[in-house]
C-alpha cells in the first residue's frame, strides 16, 4: 500500500524509502493509524528530519493523498481552491445545505481540510453514534478483538459511508479502501475499537484505547500554516554563502573542531607518584583535551569579483571564532602568492610565507579565491610557493566562489586544482571540504 508515496516524497527532496512503509505497517498494527490525519502525522514524524523538510513533505503529502498539487511558492489555500478534489467536494457540500453558499472561502477550505484529516478508513466513525450502538456488540472485550468486523461487513460499511459523504473524493477513497482491506485482514481488533474511538459509546476515549485521534481539526490547519511559511523552506545549501545560509554553513564548520573525550593514563606521572609512594603504583588518569583548532585563512582580495565573498567569509569565521575559541589568522594576497602574503586588507604589511610555513603543521588552511588570473602571473615561483604550503599543511583546501562548471575553462584554476583540493564556496562545498580534511591523518 502507498508503494509510490516514497517516490513522490523523494521528488520533493524528502528522503523516504521502503522502510518508511514497513514502519507504517508497524504503526497500523499497533493501532496508531485511523485517519488520514494520522497518516499525515505519522509520516511527518518519521520522514521529516529537519524543520525545512516540513514544507516539501506537506506538499508531497497533499499531492499524493488529496490530489492537491502545490506549486512552488504557492499557498496551500490557493492550491486547494483550484484542485478538482476540492471543487467536487464543494459541490456536494453546498448541495447538502444551501446556506453554505455564503461561507467564506477560507472557512470552506478549513472545513474541507478538517474532513480530509479526520477521514477514517474505518468508516463507522462517520456514521452517527446511534448506528454504532445498534450495530456494535457492547459486550465485546478489547482482547478478543473485532471478530465480527469481517471483510463483508466492513465493505458494506465503507459503501454506506462513501454514499454518505466521500463519493467525490474518488482518488482518496480508493487509497483508503486499500488500507482498509489491509486493516480488516491483519488486525481485526482495530476496527472495533478504532471505530468506537471517535464517538465512544462505551465511554472509552479513542485515545485511552490506544487510538490517538491524530489529525482532527488541528492537522489540516497546521499543514496550511506550514505552506508558504519561509521558516519551513530549506536554505539552499548549493547557493553561494550569503547572510541567509551563513548559519547553515557555520553548522558544517563545527566539524573542523576536533574534540576528544578520552581519558588517558599518564604514565610519567604514575611512575613519579609511584616512586614517591614507595613502589605503590596508583594509576593517574587525565582528561585528554585536544579541542584546539588552528585555522589560517588566505584570502584573495585582489579581484574585483571577490569583495562580496570576502565579507561573507570573514563574517563566517568571525562568528565561528566567537562561538568556538580557536586560533584564527587571516592573510591576504592578490591573485596568487610569490614570497609574501599580507596581514592587512590593503596589503601594506608584508609577511613572508616562511612565517606561515614555520607554523604547526596541524593548522588548517583555507585558501579563498577565484583562482582565475593571467597565466603569466602563476609562474613557477608561485606554483612552488603554493606547493610548499599544501605539502606542509596536509589539511589545506581551496574554496572557490566561482561555480564549479567554469573551473575547467581557466588554465590557472586547473593548475591550482592539481595542488589543492578545490571546493565550491557553498555550505555544501564547505561541508565536503571539512569532511575531506578530517579524513586526512596528520
Amino acid at each position: 500500500m502507498f508503494e509510490s508515496f516514497p517516490e513522490v516524497c523523494r521528488s520533493y527532496g524528502v528522503k523516504a524509502d521502503v522502510r518508511s512503509l514497513l514502519l507504517l505497517q508497524k504503526a497500523i498494527d499497533r493501532n496508531l493509524i485511523h485517519t488520514v490525519g494520522d497518516i499525515y502525522s505519522f509520516f511527518k514524524g518519521s520522514l521529516v528530519k529537519d524543520p525545512t523538510d516540513i514544507g516539501p513533505y506537506t506538499q508531497a503529502f497533499y499531492e499524493y493523498f488529496v490530489g492537491v498539487d502545490v506549486g512552488a511558492g504557492e499557498r496551500l489555500n490557493d492550491a486547494i481552491a483550484r484542485a478538482d478534489t476540492f471543487k467536487d467536494w464543494l459541490e456536494d457540500f453546498v448541495q447538502a445545505d444551501d446556506r453554505r453558499r455564503d461561507m467564506e472561502l477560507d472557512d470552506l477550505i478549513n472545513q474541507f481540510l478538517d474532513e480530509v484529516h479526520t477521514t477514517t478508513y474505518d468508516i463507522k466513525r462517520v456514521l452517527d453514534g446511534e448506528d454504532i450502538l445498534k450495530e456494535d456488540d457492547p459486550d465485546m472485550k478489547d482482547d478478543d478483538g473485532g471478530n465480527r468486523a469481517d471483510g463483508a461487513n466492513a465493505e458494506r460499511l465503507l459503501e454506506k459511508a462513501a454514499d454518505y459523504r466521500f463519493v467525490d473524493l474518488e482518488e482518496l477513497r480508493k487509497r483508503m479502501e486499500k488500507v482498509m482491506e489491509q486493516q480488516t485482514r491483519d488486525h481485526q481488533g482495530g476496527s472495533h475499537w478504532v471505530g468506537t474511538g471517535g464517538v465512544s459509546p462505551y465511554g472509552n476515549g479513542g485515545a485511552a484505547m490506544g487510538g490517538i485521534r491524530v489529525g482532527g481539526t488541528g492537522g489540516g490547519r497546521m499543514a496550511r500554516e506550514v505552506m508558504g511559511d519561509p521558516q519551513y523552506y530549506p536554505v539552499d545549501i548549493d547557493a553561494q554563502i550569503n547572510d541567509d545560509n551563513i548559519d547553515a554553513t557555520l553548522a558544517t564548520l563545527k566539524g573542523v573542531i576536533e574534540e576528544t573525550n578520552q581519558r588517558y593514563l599518564d604514565i610519567p606521572l604514575t611512575v613519579k607518584e609511584g616512586v614517591a609512594q614507595g613502589g605503590l603504583f596508583l594509576p593517574v588518569e587525565l582528561d585528554k583535551t585536544e579541542d584546539k583548532l588552528q585555522v589560517i585563512l588566505l584570502i584573495d582580495n585582489g579581484g574585483y569579483s571577490m569583495d562580496y565573498y570576502i565579507r561573507a567569509v570573514q563574517a563566517l569565521f568571525k562568528k565561528m571564532k566567537t562561538r568556538y575559541q580557536h586560533d584564527l589568522e587571516t592573510y591576504y594576497f592578490h591573485n596568487t602568492i610569490y614570497k609574501y602574503v599580507y596581514e592587512d586588507e590593503r596589503r601594506t604589511r608584508k609577511v613572508p610565507i616562511e612565517r606561515i610555513l614555520s607554523k604547526d603543521p596541524n593548522y588548517r588552511i583555507f585558501v579563498i579565491g577565484d583562482a582565475a588570473m593571467a597565466p603569466y602571473e602563476l609562474h613557477e615561483g608561485s606554483i612552488i610557493a603554493w606547493g610548499r604550503i599544501s605539502e606542509k599543511f596536509k589539511k589545506s583546501v581551496w574554496l572557490n566562489p566561482v561555480s564549479e562548471k567554469h573551473w575547467h575553462i581557466t588554465w590557472t584554476t586547473t593548475m591550482l586544482r592539481k595542488i589543492f583540493k578545490m571546493y565550491t564556496m557553498t555550505p555544501r562545498g564547505i561541508e565536503q571540504a571539512i569532511l575531506g580534511m578530517n579524513r586526512k591523518k596528520r
Binding site: 502525522s41 518519521s46 529537519d50 485511552a208 553548522a251 566539524g255 574534540e259 573525550n261 594509576p283
Partner: protein, 303 residues
C-alpha cells in the same frame, strides 16, 4: 506493557497536540523521540513533566562535549580496579610485617568484577521497566557520539564491560526515550532516521499566554498581556540572543512583587530588562529601537 496512552500535558506543562502525537507515536513504536527547537520551547520539560505526572522513574543523561557512550551505558573503572589490586598487595605486605592499619577498598572486592562497572543512565533505565530516559542536548556531543548512541539504542540489550553481565529489556518494557537538540550541530542522517522527529516552533502569543497561566495561575491578565506584547516585540528585533520562554517567566516572577499599576508601569519602562536581555549589544539595540515604541499604547504587534 509499557505505558503507551496519549499524554496531553499536565497542569504545569502545556503540550500541544502535534507534540503529544509524536511522543505517543514514539512510545508505541518503541523509537526514540528527537525534539528540536529553539531554546525555551519546553523540549527538556516534556520528559520531566511526563515522568512526574505519570509517576515514572526518570533517568537523565546531560550530553556535553566530552560525552561518550561508555558514560551513557556503562564503563569499567580500570583505574579503581588497579588501585584496589595494588591496595590488596600493599595490605598483604603490611600483614606480613605485622601492621594492623590497612588501606580500604571501599567495600569493593577485586574478585567481583561487577563492583567496578559504573552503570550509566541507559543501563539504569533499561533495567527499570517502563521508565523515561532523557538524553539532553545531544547537539553538544562530539561528532561520533550520536552514531555510537544509535548502535547502543538499536539493540535492546547491553553487555556490561568486563563483568559480562547482560542488561536486557523487552520491547514492551522499553523506556520512553526522549532526545533533545538545539540544532547547534547537524545530527547524522542515519541517526535521525531511527528517531521520530518533532520540531517545536516558538509558540504564538496566544499559546504563550496559556503557558504563563500554567506557571502563574494567579497573575493578572493585563500584566500578562502587557508583558507578552513587549516580549514578542523584543523577539522581533533580531537580537543576538532572543529572549525565550524561560526569560519571560523569570521577568514576570520579578514583576509579581509589585502592585498591578506599578507593574504595568514597570513593564512599559522595561524595568528589569536584565532578566530578558543577556548581552550588552542587545541591551543597546533594545534601547535604541524600543524604548520609545513601548510607551505608546498598542504599539506592540505580533511577532
Amino acid at each position: 506493557m509499557a505505558e503507551t496512552s496519549l499524554w496531553n500535558g499536565s497542569d504545569k506543562y502545556l503540550c500541544d497536540r502535534e507534540l503529544a502525537q509524536a511522543f505517543h507515536m514514539a512510545r508505541v513504536l518503541g523509537m526514540p523521540l528527537l525534539i528540536e527547537g529553539e531554546p525555551g520551547t519546553g523540549k527538556t520539560e516534556l520528559p520531566l513533566q511526563y515522568a512526574k505526572d505519570s509517576d515514572i522513574d526518570l533517568f537523565v543523561y546531560p550530553v556535553g562535549s566530552k560525552s561518550t557512550v561508555d558514560q551513557f551505558v556503562a564503563r569499567f573503572d580500570h583505574v579503581k580496579y588497579l588501585r584496589d589490586s595494588q591496595v590488596e598487595v600493599l595490605n598483604a605486605q603490611r600483614d606480613e610485617k605485622g601492621l594492623s592499619t590497612k588501606l580500604s577498598t571501599g567495600g569493593r572486592s577485586t574478585d567481583q568484577l561487577k563492583d567496578y562497572v559504573m552503570q550509566g543512565p541507559a543501563a539504569k533505565a533499561y533495567s527499570t521497566p517502563n521508565s523515561v530516559l532523557l538524553i539532553d542536548e545531544i547537539d553538544k556531543a562530539p561528532r561520533e557520539f550520536p552514531n555510537d548512541l544509535l548502535y547502543a539504542l538499536s539493540h535492546r540489550k547491553f553487555v556490561m564491560p568486563e563483568s559480562g553481565d547482560v542488561i536486557e529489556v523487552s520491547e514492551e518494557d522499553m523506556p520512553a526515550i526522549v532526545i533533545t537538540s538545539n540544532r547547534e550541530q547537524e545530527l547524522p542522517t542515519a541517526f535521525k532516521g531511527r528517531c521520530i522527529y518533532h520540531y517545536i516552533s516558538f509558540p504564538p502569543p496566544e499559546t504563550m499566554r496559556d503557558i504563563v497561566r500554567k506557571h502563574y495561575p494567579k497573575a493578572d491578565d493585563d500584566i500578562v498581556q502587557q508583558a507578552i506584547d513587549v516580549f514578542y516585540q523584543l523577539r522581533q528585533l533580531g537580537l543576538e540572543r532572543s529572549p525565550s520562554t524561560r526569560e519571560l517567566l523569570n521577568w514576570l516572577k520579578y514583576m509579581q512583587t509589585f502592585s498591578k499599576e506599578e507593574t504595568i508601569e514597570r513593564i512599559k519602562k522595561l524595568d528589569g530588562l536584565g532578566a530578558l536581555i543577556k548581552t550588552q549589544d542587545d541591551v543597546r539595540r533594545v534601547q535604541r529601537n524600543l524604548m520609545d515604541d513601548i510607551k505608546k499604547p498598542g504599539g506592540a504587534s505580533r511577532y
